[in-house]
Structure formats: structure tokens, C-alpha cells
């Protein structure tokens, strides 16, 4: 019998026919009809009209038919909630069936039906199934709790299912344990603050025991859960590692990668002097290499992860270069990743082999791959000094092939080689100049122009070459225009006599005929410099350039540390934190590596532990253009950087170094306006980047001690309305704790006692963290001041307006109700400073319709004052730049429930009106954040 015929019934009146068949008396006919319905459903036809007829088939003892009906129910119950109720009875009955397979089927299906009325009926059967004698039923019920939590979290908590689920972690059956762990991990993710997965040495031990016994999938759930644990000291870390290492020999790659994640994370806590540390490092390499013989899709996942691992711990795979050699038949995505890792592993010891391979790749077919291979040769030259000469000659060979994109790519990288090794390889310039005409990509043109300008004194016809570009000046892209301007000024300074006309021409093109402010500004600076003091101009424009760093596309260390915590997951494939691609609150919890062992810090949970990259591994330069590069802060790199620890090379320039440094980076600046793909040129400005980051650190030190702004007390409950009790109050936030400062006044004639307070459910889960304590009875006319600590762990319900709070106060006389509005800034948490890269990515990522703009009027403060005042209320300035005289502050803040709000504050000196743009995934908070800004800035 074949089922494919069900796919082919597409007559008119089909629904009608199906209806008749579904109601047939013959079992076989019924079953046939249900199969037809499912087939139609699969191909996307709407068969919801048949709901009652299909549900009628549910009461059957034919399990196959039952399963089909259930499948239908899961798809359509939501659209027909009232009808779905008809199915409840059968479910409840099935949950009592003597056959465990049927019990499990019923509870599994019921959890998939997202209809409120059904979920109510689900609770009792689920409770029984969680304690069922059969492990198959229990493991299904464990997952069902997660399903129910997804539909109605409150219900799950109220019914106490979470506790039952926790008990299942100690179940005798390993599969039940694994599913319980999976369910709990998922629920815990949506409650970052809760202590649901209460991991302690005892429970960890149980998990490690279950690890040996459960299915491959169960092992993955358990390992992923273990990775969230922070051992209390290095000894515990080591003993967990010892019990996890056998998993590295598992046939399932996901088990291996999850084990690698646990080991990479816990290794962080082990001392490098430990013998065990070295043993562990050695054990990591073979399984990682083995992953490369898996199917291509898995290889891709493995390679993306290996890319992170070699950045974090290069020593792991340093001897394994050969396994990353590209095979002719590898899919392109595997090839590109392998190439990336080859460069990271390139060293003096293996450079000859690597170069031979790269040269081979440069003759392949795929354009992207070839370009990357050429670029890789350049990077080898910069990374391994001994190989530079060989690299250059390889590149020259490639230029001889005359393949257009190879030539262009080669020229771009040769420019970087010149930067790294000045005055060493100029002999090749002649060859490069021959190819001038074939360059049609802006990046290659800009690179060539830079070379001509830089070595103008050695190129006889430099003026002719540059002049030829000038003809189509306005058709060139910005980076070429900027580079051309600088190159001609350099040429003029070197050969003033012959090129005066040329320089005037370019200056007028740049300043008078161009709409581009960057170009105009640079033109004017040169013009002014040249006309006032040619000597100074020479010192500035021809200043010695800082050397470029060898590694340019390393992932920023804090992001890298976070990604290491996500090994094996999508985040590690995308090289982005989950918050950049996951919607809503889920998975946005920021993970970081555990700090190197220090017993005093052992109590900290992984979420709050500081990113613990040991100082020795910090990189000297902060790469300014990572994967997450946005366009927002590019211009940041232009203005001169003031602040003490400038990059050393900039300091050497002496007295004019400030200006020199600034202009120097301008010379390099075209690459910063380049599209994000341009990873290599970013290194031109790398030292500037590090200066800049110092600047950020300076600002972060300001004004963190004072608490946030506190509004004066206001009357919330007038005495008239509350039988003589008057309540006024305000909200404060100090050192991370929120409290409600109350003033109770007795304006009645009798003594008041037995005070109590309760809040209604509200948007951010505010709730009293302690009972209202009024120690002595409140006699008439007496007033007491009470500070009531608040928590945000209460139940959540969205209120209108968002920040309204309904309060009930009881005393011996009566119960009184009032409602008040709380200022949002009491919810701004102290760790709301977003990483700059993450800020950029997040800002870009939030859709524009979520952006809200506000005006803050009449605020006399300047940018510094604004920044420090906001910071004391936990609004952090992530970056600042100056655009056309306006100060732009980029700020971030985080609410207690994990919502991030990103802000751009535009301040014009002299103008008391500020423009505030807010971006947030939950746009409804913007209005209130704006009010908080107003309150903080104006008081």
C-alpha cells in the first residue's frame, strides 16, 4: 500500500467529499480520509473546515488513526479553540490508559495544543504523569512542563511543576534526567534572575553520573547545562574536566563540541603551571581534528568553532596546520573557513608549506576564495617577517597572471606590506605601475594611489600617474578621492617645483567642487597648512607612520570570551552574541568565562562574574573593524585623540604629535569609510583605536559613586480618602537596590496599628522585598518615615501606563488603595554599559520603526555634565563623537528585566534643546525612558 496517492487529490468539492468519508462507518475509510486531510495540510491547503469531523475520529482504539488526528489537532486547535475543547475528554481519558505509550502520547500532544482552556485541563494529568511509574511517560512529561511554561509561565509556577521538575533531576532513569535538565535549562533562560537550575556540587555530581548512561542527545543537554556552572575553585573545575574528557571520543560531533565547550570554559580556572592543564590541552586537539572528517555541514560548524578556539588558545592546534589544507572537492563554505584558520596558525615553522598552498589556491575558480587566498598571502607577510620576501615574490607572480581580480587584490595587500616594512620592497613598484589601467575597484585604486604618493620621490612619472586619476575625480568613490588628495599633497611636498599646478587643481576640486564634508575638510586643512607653514605641513603630512599590527581580524577579546561560552551553538557559527539574532528576552543573558580561580569570588554566579581574560592575554591593540562593524562610529577615528596613554609610536613624533597623529590617521582614514568587508586596511588606524579605548575608560570612571536621582516625596494617598491616613512617598535606587521611601502620617483621631502593604502585578514585577514594618503604633498627628526595600521578582503583568503601580495598604481601620507612577530610572541596572561593538551591532539590528525621537528642552548642561549626570543614574555613555560642532553621545541602559535601551543624544553647544533618539526592542518603554532623561537632567 502506498500513501503517495493522497498527495494527488485536488478535485473541486474535495472538502465536501472528505467530510463524507470522515463520517463513514468503515474504519478503513475513515483512516484513508484522515490521511488525505494530513496530506493536504502538509502541502499548505486549509483544511480547518473539517475540524469537527476529524476530531470525531479521535475516539478510536486504532493508535495510528489517533496519532493522525492528534497531528491535525496540533495544527488547527489554535484556530478553533472552542471546538478543540471537544478533544479534552479523550486526552484526559488517554492519560489514564494502561498502556504507557498511549499515556505519553496524550500528554505529549496536549502540551502542543496552545489553547488556554485546554491547558487548564492539562494540569492534573501532567501532575500524574510526572510521577508515573513508567520512565517513558515521565521523560515525556518533563518536556511537557517546558511546553506549558511557554504557553503560561504563571500557571507552571503556581501549580508547583517547577519543583517536581527539579526532583526529576534525581530520577533513576538517565533519559528522564536528561529531559528534565533540558526543560529546566530552557525555563531558566527566560528567568535569568531566578535560581531555577540550582547547580551545586551535589547536583553536578548527579548530572555527571547520568552523563555516562543517557543517549547521545541527553549527553548534549547535560553538557550544555554543565557549561553554565561555575565551579567554586580550581580543584572542582579539574575534577569536572576529568569526568567530561571521555566524551571527546563520542561518535556524535555535538557531544564532542559540547564537551569542548565545558573544558574550554573550566580551563580558564586552571593554573597554567598545572600538569593537568598541559594534559588537557593535548587532549583537545585530536577530537577537533577528527571533526574535520565529518559531513561537510558539521565540518563547517566545527571550523567556525575552531576559529574561535585558536584565537583563544592558539597552542591547542599549532601543530595541526596540515589538516586545514583545502581539498579540491570541499564545499566553498568549508574552503573559506579553512583558509581563515590556516592564516591564524601560520608561523615561522610552517610558513613555507602555507605559502605553497596559498599559491595553489590563488589559481582556483571561485572568485571569493581566490581573493581570500591572495589576501592571506599578504597577511602571512605581515605576520611572519622572515617570509615577507617570499610572499612579495609570490604576489608578483600572481600579478603576472593578469587575472583582473587577482591583480587588484594583490595590490591592496602589497600596500599593507609596504606599511609594515617601509623602504624594503620598493623595487616592485614599477611592476605595480604597469597594472594601473586594469584597476577598477575603489580599494585597489586607493591602494595604488597611496603607494604612488608615498614613494613619489622614486617614481619618475608620479605626477603623470596621479594626474591621470584626476580627470575623473568626481566619478571616483570617496576613498579614492581622499587618497588622491593626500597623495598629491605628498607629491607636492616632495617635488614642489613641478607640481604646483597639480596640487592647486586637486585642492580646488576637493574644496570647491565637492559635496562631501570629509573631503572638503581635509582639503581645507591641507590648504591652510600649505599656505601658512610648509615646514609644518611637511612634518604633518610626511610624518612617520605607526607600524601596522599583524593581526587585524581578531574578534574583540570580550566578545571572544562570550562566544567561547557558546561553543557549538548558532552564536559560535555566526560569531555574534545571541542577543544579535535572537528575539525577545530569551538567550540575551550575557555569558562570560569564569575568572581564574580565586576563592573569594567563588560565590558569584556565572552571569555576574566579570569577564576574566587574564591580563597577559590581552591584546595590545583593539581591532577597530570586526565582523560587527557598523557605520556609526567609523568617524570616531578621525579626530585627534587626547588623553595620556597614546600609542607609543604616536608619542615618538615629538611636539606636534597630537596634530600629527590626528592627521596621520586622516591619511589612513579612507579605509575607515570603506565597506565593512575591508578588514585588512583597518590596521592602519589600529593604534588610534587603542587610544580611543583609553578615552572610553576615562569616561567610565566618572561619577559612579553617587546614587541615582531621587524625586521629592509626593502625596500619594490624601488623608481624606483613607480615613485619616496620609501617605506620601518617592522611589530611590541606591547601589543596585530599589526602595520605596514612605512617609505615613496619622491625621485621624485614633491610633493606627497592623500596617501591611501589597502591590498589584505590574509591568516590571516590582514587589515588596520585606513586610512593611511600622514598629510602634502610630498615634494621632504622628509621622513615621519608612524605607521599604523592593525587589523585581514579583509577577509581571503589563500595566497601562507602563510604569503605574497599584498599591494596597492595610491598617487596623481598613484597606486603602492608591496608584502611583514610578520613574523608570529606578529600574536602570548598574551593569547597563554595553560593549561598543555590541552597541553598534544592536543599534543596527533593531528595526528603524522602533526608533523614537524626543526633544529635551531648556537644559543648560554641556556634554560632559550630561554624561556624568546620566551615568550616576546608570545611563552609560558608550561612545562620544563630535560631528559638525554637535556632540553626539551614544548611550546604553538596561532595565531590571533585561531590556536594553540604546540612545543617541545630540547636543549643540549653546543650544539648550537636545535631541534624543531611542532604540529598543520593546518600543513601549521609550516614552518612559525619555521622561527619565528629562527628570534626571533637569533636577
Amino acid at each position: 500500500m502506498t500513501d503517495s496517492k493522497y498527495f494527488t487529490t485536488t478535485k473541486k468539492g474535495e472538502i465536501f467529499e472528505l467530510k463524507a468519508e470522515l463520517n463513514s462507518d468503515k474504519k478503513e475509510k475513515k483512516k484513508e480520509a484522515v490521511k488525505k486531510v494530513i496530506a493536504s495540510m502538509t502541502v499548505g491547503k486549509d483544511v480547518s473546515a473539517l475540524f469537527p469531523d476529524v476530531v470525531n475520529c479521535m475516539q478510536t482504539d486504532n493508535l495510528e488513526l489517533k496519532k493522525l488526528v492528534y497531528l491535525y489537532l496540533m495544527n488547527y486547535a489554535k484556530s478553533q479553540p472552542d471546538m478543540a475543547i471537544m478533544a479534552v475528554n479523550t486526552f484526559v481519558k488517554d492519560c489514564e490508559d494502561p498502556n504507557p505509550l498511549i499515556r505519553a502520547l496524550a500528554v505529549r500532544t496536549m502540551g502542543c495544543i496552545r489553547v488556554d482552556k485546554i491547558t487548564e485541563y492539562l494540569c492534573e494529568p501532567l501532575r500524574k504523569c510526572l510521577k508515573d511509574e513508567d520512565p517513558y511517560v515521565r521523560k515525556t512529561a518533563a518536556v511537557c512542563v517546558a511546553k506549558l511554561h511557554d504557553i503560561n509561565a504563571q500557571l507552571v509556577e503556581d501549580q508547583g511543576f517547577l519543583d517536581t521538575l527539579k526532583d526529576l533531576i534525581s530520577d533513576s532513569n538517565p533519559m528522564v534526567v536528561a529531559n528534565a535538565v533540558a526543560a529546566l535549562s530552557e525555563i531558566a533562560e527566560s528567568h535569568p534572575s531566578s535560581n531555577l537550575l540550582d547547580l551545586n556540587p551535589q547536583s553536578i555530581n548527579k548530572l555527571l553520573t547520568a552523563l555516562n548512561e543517557c543517549t547521545e542527545w541527553g549527553q548534549i543537554f547535560i553538557l550544555d547545562c554543565l557549561a553554565n556552572y561555575t565551579p567554586k575553585d580550581d580543584r572542582e573545575a579539574q575534577s569536572i574536566c576529568e569526568r567530561v574528557t571521555p566524551r571527546l571520543s563520542h561518535a556524535n560531533s555535538a557531544v564532542v563540541l559540547s564537551a569542548v565547550k565545558v573544558l574550554m570554559k573550566f580551563m580558564e580556572m586552571l593554573s597554567k603551571d598545572l600538569d593537568y592543564y598541559g594534559t588537557l590541552l593535548k587532549k583537545l586537539a585530536p577530537p577537533l581534528v577528527t571533526l574535520l572528517s565529518a559531513e561537510p555541514e558539521l565540518q563547517y560548524v566545527a571550523l567556525r568553532n575552531i576559529n574561535l578556539i585558536v584565537q583563544k588558545r592558539p597552542e591547542v592546534l599549532k601543530h595541526e596546520m596540515k589538516v586545514f589544507f583545502v581539498k579540491y572537492n570541499d564545499p566553498i563554505y568549508v574552503k573559506l573557513e579553512k583558509l581563515d584558520i590556516m592564516i591564524r596558525l601560520a608561523s615561522q615553522a610552517n610558513i613555507a608549506q602555507v605559502l605553497a598552498e596559498l599559491k595553489e589556491y590563488a589559481t582556483e575558480v571561485d572568485v571569493d576564495f581566490v581573493r581570500k587566498a591572495v589576501r592571506a598571502i599578504g597577511r602571512c607577510a605581515i605576520k611572519v617577517e622572515q617570509s615577507a620576501e617570499r610572499c612579495v615574490s609570490t604576489l608578483l607572480d600572481l600579478i603576472q597572471t593578469k587575472v583582473n581580480y587577482v591583480v587588484q587584490e594583490a595590490i591592496v595587500v602589497i600596500k599593507d606590506i609596504f606599511r609594515k616594512y617601509p623602504n624594503k620592497y620598493e623595487s616592485v613598484i614599477a611592476t605595480l605601475c604597469e597594472n594601473l589601467d586594469s584597476l577598477d575597484e575603489p580599494e585597489a585604486r586607493a591602494a595604488m594611489i597611496w603607494i604612488v604618493g608615498e614613494y613619489a620621490e622614486r617614481i619618475d612619472n608620479a605626477d603623470e600617474l596621479l594626474e591621470s586619476f584626476l580627470e575623473g575625480f568626481h566619478d571616483e568613490s570617496t576613498q579614492v578621492q581622499l587618497q588622491l588628495l593626500t597623495a598629491i599633497v605628498k607629491l607636492f611636498l616632495k617635488k614642489p617645483t613641478e607640481t604646483q599646478e597639480l596640487v592647486q587643481q586637486v585642492l580646488s576640486l576637493a574644496t570647491q567642487d565637492s559635496d562631501n564634508p570629509d573631503l572638503r575638510d581635509r582639503g581645507y586643512i591641507y590648504w591652510r597648512l600649505l599656505s601658512t607653514d610648509p615646514v609644518a605641513a611637511k612634518e604633518v603630512v610626511l610624518a612617520e607612520k605607526p607600524l601596522i599590527s599583524e593581526e587585524t581580524d581578531l574578534i574583540e577579546p570580550t566578545l571572544l570570551d562570550e562566544l567561547i561560552c557558546y561553543i557549538g551553538t548558532l552564536a559560535s557559527v555566526y560569531h555574534k552574541p545571541p542577543s544579535a539574532f535572537v528575539e525577545g528576552g530569551r538567550g540575551v543573558v550575557h555569558k562570560s568565562l569564569p575568572p581564574r580561580t580565586a576563592s573569594s569570588e567563588s560565590t558569584e554566579s556565572p552571569e555576574t562574574a566579570p569577564a576574566g581574560a587574564p591580563p597577559g592575554e590581552q591584546l595590545d591593540t583593539v581591532p577597530t573593524q570586526g565582523d560587527l562593524l557598523g557605520d556609526l562610529l567609523n568617524l570616531d577615528l578621525g579626530p585627534p585623540v587626547s588623553g595620556p596613554p597614546l600609542a607609543t609610536s604616536a608619542v615618538q613624533m615629538g611636539a606636534v604629535d597630537l596634530l600629527g597623529g590626528g592627521l596621520d590617521s586622516l591619511i589612513g582614514a579612507p579605509s575607515f569609510v570603506a565597506p565593512p568587508a575591508a578588514a585588512v586596511p583597518a590596521n592602519l588606524g589600529a593604534p588610534m583605536g587603542s587610544g580611543l579605548s583609553d578615552l572610553f575608560d576615562l569616561t567610565s570612571g566618572v561619577g559612579t559613586l553617587s546614587g541615582s536621582y531621587v524625586a521629592p516625596k509626593a502625596v500619594w494617598l490624601p488623608a481624606m480618602k483613607a480615613k485619616g491616613l496620609e501617605i506620601s512617598g518617592t522611589f530611590t535606587r541606591q547601589a543596585g537596590s530599589i526602595s520605596m521611601d514612605l512617609q505615613l502620617t496619622n491625621k485621624a483621631l485614633q491610633v493606627m496599628t497592623d500596617f501591611a502593604i501589597q502591590f498589584n502585578r505590574n509591568s516590571f514585577g516590582l514587589a515588596p522585598a520585606a513586610p512593611l514594618q511600622v514598629h510602634a503604633p502610630l498615634s494621632p498627628t504622628q509621622t513615621v518615615e519608612i524605607s521599604l526595600p523592593l525587589s523585581t521578582a514579583g509577577s509581571v503583568m503589563k500595566t497601562e501606563p507602563l510604569n503605574s503601580l497599584q498599591v494596597a495598604v492595610k491598617n487596623n481601620i481598613d484597606v486603602f488603595y492608591f496608584s502611583t507612577l514610578y520613574p523608570l530610572h529606578i529600574l536602570f541596572v548598574e551593569d547597563g554599559k554595553m560593549d561598543r561593538q555590541v552597541f553598534l551591532a544592536t543599534w543596527k539590528d533593531i528595526p528603524n520603526e522602533n526608533e523614537a525621537q524626543f526633544q529635551i528642552r531648556d537644559c543648560p548642561l554641556n556634554a560632559e555634565a550630561v554624561s556624568s549626570r546620566l551615568q550616576s543614574s546608570s545611563i552609560f555613555t558608550v561612545a562620544r563623537r563630535n560631528v559638525e560642532g554637535q556632540d553626539m553621545l551614544y548611550q546604553s541602559l538596561k532595565l531590571t528585566n533585561g531590556i536594553w535601551v540604546l540612545a543617541e543624544l545630540r547636543i549643540q553647544p549653546g543650544n539648550p534643546s537636545f535631541t534624543l533618539s531611542l532604540k529598543c526592542r520593546a518600543p513601549e518603554v521609550s516614552q518612559h525612558v525619555y521622561q527619565a532623561y528629562e527628570t534626571i537632567l533637569k533636577n
Binding site: T2, D3, Y6, F7, I38, T42, G44, E64, K67, N99, P100, R108, D134, P135, Y136, V137, V143, N173, M175, N212, T215, E216, W217, I220, D224, P246, R247, S249, H250, N252, A254, V256, S258, P286, V289, T290, S293, E295, E297, L298, Y300, V301, K322, V323, Y328, N329, P331, Q353, E357, T363, V365, G568, L570, A571, V573, Y574, P578, F581, E583, R586
Partner: protein
């Protein structure tokens, strides 16, 4: 976790669609079709992010399997699951083709309901699944209570891959050591990279719940044992091999391997893959390819290729095939070979030279003249490597099975009563020589 799973045919029509999570809508099905299946260019990544939804896909012949999610899932797990899904389907109805999927769609839905719950993979061992999901409808309504609980305890149990009560009149087992040799050689005959990836496949027909112990000439084990009798290892020369890494079927007790390096397990019934391993040292390369390419002007190429077999003369290699790539602008080819048959295949841009059998320590050669059409294409021909296929009756890594002991405590058959067969097959993996 996995939010949904779709199966498409080559045209992008949905054959199976199962949604597990509420955040995945019907439009996800179309998004994948439009952006990936119908996309003109080559697939640039097996993971695609479309509008904040991530799609993982694998292809089997012309069928696409896609898993969808909106969360930060374990990506390696998703792919492993997709492969597993393919294995399970193949075990039920053979080749994964549009016809087979349509013929078995009810079964597939049933399987998907069982092996993926709310997007979490559950027990997916075919042996266990087949006890209660069959193509002839579901058995369970007529089972006794004992049978039912036997099923559930097997599905959830510690030994999910085997069940009590298996009986054979003849206890027999077959071990296949299957290796694939991979080589990349430079035109000058320098080995750029070489490795063997091997598999030990076991087919067991054993009664009861047999405890097995597998031993091979693993260097670490031999050295450990050989400490007392040092001369034994030295006189036997290259008796042991260095294994770079190995992975095991889930029946093998990994902690025991980690501590004692012994491989002990209770095997699944019938065929399964016991282990995979990888070696890179002292590999016997069964063939050496010596290419010679000469460009005669712009319109002619002369190619000469010599192959040499490098193993015991008493052994015979089979199914030998040498593939010599030719430029795209080839107009004609003339071939002369000493042994076997050679043909120019224009559609594959290659000369294919086939030899049925060849003994060890022999040599054979082919020479060809390739006529080229004049082109003004500036781009040089990429010169893909010469590749080779073959099969040899030994393990190129040098691996030897030392023993496989069977011990069944409850039934009365001993290790000696089990009939054991061992076979070694070495095949070419990617065996390339650049020219």
C-alpha cells in the same frame, strides 16, 4: 531548540512539514524555498539566517531537509539530528527519494513525533524505534503489559540499542575493518598530507546480552603490556600503530576507554559501526602517481602518468581508476595505455583510465596527447589534481584486530563457541596528486 522540520523536493515543494514551536510560522516554509532552494547561486553556507530565523539544511540526492529555529540552538546537534533522521528514514524505507517520502509520509510524521519532542531530540536508535513504530501500522494495541513495559524501558533505558531475549542458534559475528586512504601529493612526489580514516563495522548475531571486548594493535596498549616482554615488540617490528584519535558508538563505555584504553560494550543486534579512527603516521600508500604534463605551444598538451603499486606482490588491488583532468577547451585526445582501458570523457573533462586488477609492486603507464582549441581567455587553466580510486585487501593504516572476546554471563555459550570473521578493506578516499 528546533522549531520546525521541513522536507522539500528539488522543486521546493513541501513533502513534510512539522512545526514544534509557536515562534515558527507557516511563512518559514516559504522563506527557505525562496531564499535557498530557488536561489540562483551556489549554496554559500549550510546555515542561513533569514529575518531572524535560522535554517539548517542538508541535501540527500535531490531532497532537502531543513530544520528551523529562532533560538540560539546547539548547531552541531541540529546537523547530527538531521543526519540521524536520514539514517532512520533509510532504515525504514531505503533510499531517501521523493517517491519514498510520499509513500511513507504517515510513518515519517509518526517518527518525527517520537524522535523530536518540542524540538528536543529523543531516542533515535532504529532498533528501538522499530519495536513500536512499523510500516504496517502500530502494533501496540495488542501487546501484553510486559511487552509494553519492555518497549518503554528499552526506549528510555541505559541500553537503548538492545533488548533482552534475542536468540540465535548459531552465535556468529563479522568484523569489517574499512579504511579510506587520503593523500595529497605534490607533482614532485612529496606527500603534502596523508591520513587514513577508518571504521570498524560489526555485524553480530549473538544471543542474550553479550559483553564484548575488542582489542587491536593500538600502540598505547601494546606498549603498556609490552613493558614486561620488551623484546616481543621489538622483534615484531611495526606491529603496533599510533592512532591519532578515535570515536565510538554510544554502546562503548567511554569512561573505561579513557582510563584503561579498553574497548568494552554490549553490541546492538546486527550491523552497527563500532568505532571510527584516524591515523597519520606510517601509512602504507598503496599507489604512487607520477604525472608529467608538457605544454607544446598553445594548442597541445602532452600528458604521461605512471602508477606504481606499493604492497605485497601476493595481494591484488581492484577497481582501479585514474582520472586525469583535461582543459575545458580540449578538442581531441589520443590515449595509449599499457594495461586496462582508457577513455576521454568530454562531459567530465577528464581522461578516465580503468584497470580491473593489479598486483603489488607493479607499474603501469598511460600517455595522452591533448589537442586544444585556441582561446583568448586570459585565465589560465586551474589544473585540477589527478585523482585515483582503488580497493585493496589490507588496512593501509596497519591496523590489526587482535581479539574480540564475547562473554554472556546468563546463557551458556562461551567465547570459543562464537564464530568470528574478520575482513580488511582499504579504499581510496580523496587520493590526489597535483600536476
Amino acid at each position: 531548540m528546533i522549531g520546525g522540520l521541513f522536507i522539500y523536493n528539488h522543486k521546493g515543494e513541501v513533502l513534510i512539514s512539522r512545526v514544534y514551536r509557536d515562534d515558527i510560522g507557516r511563512n518559514a516554509v516559504d522563506a527557505f524555498r525562496v531564499n535557498v532552494i530557488h536561489a540562483r547561486q551556489q549554496v554559500r553556507s549550510p546555515v542561513t539566517n533569514i529575518a531572524r530565523t535560522s535554517f539548517f539544511h542538508v541535501k540527500r540526492s535531490n531532497i532537502w531537509l531543513a530544520a528551523v529555529t529562532k533560538q540560539n540552538v546547539n548547531a552541531a546537534m541540529v546537523f547530527e539530528f538531521l543526519y540521524k533522521m536520514c539514517d532512520v528514514m533509510a532504515a525504514y524505507f531505503g533510499k531517501i527519494s521523493e517517491e519514498n517520502i510520499k509513500n511513507n509520509f504517515v510513518l515519517i510524521y509518526e517518527l518525527l513525533d517520537e524522535i523530536l519532542d518540542f524540538g528536543y531530540p529523543q531516542n533515535s536508535e532504529t532498533g528501538a524505534l522499530k519495536t513500536f513504530i512499523t510500516q504496517q501500522g502500530i502494533k501496540s494495541q495488542h501487546q501484553t503489559k510486559e511487552e509494553q513495559s519492555q518497549i518503554t524501558s528499552q526506549v528510555t533505558g541505559q541500553i537503548g540499542w538492545r533488548w533482552e531475549g534475542i536468540k540465535y542458534r548459531r552465535n556468529e559475528l563479522f568484523l569489517d575493518v574499512l579504511e579510506s586512504v587520503n593523500l595529497l601529493m605534490s607533482p614532485q612526489g612529496q606527500v603534502l598530507s596523508a591520513h587514513v580514516s577508518g571504521r570498524v563495522v560489526m555485524k553480530s548475531y549473538l544471543s542474550g546480552m553479550p559483553e564484548c571486548k575488542f582489542g587491536m594493535n593500538d600502540k598505547i596498549v601494546i606498549e603498556k603490556q609490552g613493558k614486561g616482554t620488551a623484546d616481543e615488540t621489538s622483534k615484531s617490528g611495526k606491529q603496533s600503530i599510533a592512532i591519532d584519535d578515535c570515536t565510538f558508538h554510544q554502546c562503548v563505555r567511554l569512561s573505561k576507554f579513557d582510563s584503561e584504553r579498553s574497548i568494552s560494550f554490549i553490541p546492538p543486534d546486527r550491523e552497527f559501526e563500532l568505532m571510527r579512527y584516524r591515523t597519520t603516521k606510517d601509512i602504507i600508500l598503496p599507489f604512487r602517481v607520477i604525472p608529467l604534463v608538457r605544454e607544446v605551444g598553445h594548442t597541445k598538451l602532452e600528458v604521461k602518468v605512471v602508477i606504481k603499486s606499493n604492497f605485497k606482490p601476493s595481494l591484488l588491488a581492484q577497481k582501479i581508476e585514474v582520472r586525469i583532468p583535461t582543459p575545458l577547451n580540449t578538442s581531441g585526445v589520443q590515449v595509449i595505455c599499457m594495461k586496462g582501458k582508457a577513455k576521454y570523457k568530454a562531459s567530465e573533462n577528464a581522461i578516465v583510465w580503468k584497470i580491473k586488477r593489479m598486483a603489488g609492486m607493479k607499474e603501469s603507464q598511460i600517455s595522452a596527447e591533448i589537442e586544444l582549441l585556441p582561446t583568448n581567455d586570459k585565465k589560465k587553466w586551474a589544473r585540477p589534481p589527478i585523482s585515483m580510486n582503488f580497493e585493496v585487501p589490507f588496512a593501509p593504516s596497519g591496523l590489526k584486530v587482535r581479539y574480540l572476546k564475547v562473554f554472556e554471563p546468563k546463557l551458556n555459550y562461551s567465547d570459543h563457541d562464537v564464530i568470528k570473521w574478520v575482513r580488511y578493506i582499504g579504499r581510496s578516499g580523496i587520493y590526489e596528486t597535483r600536476c
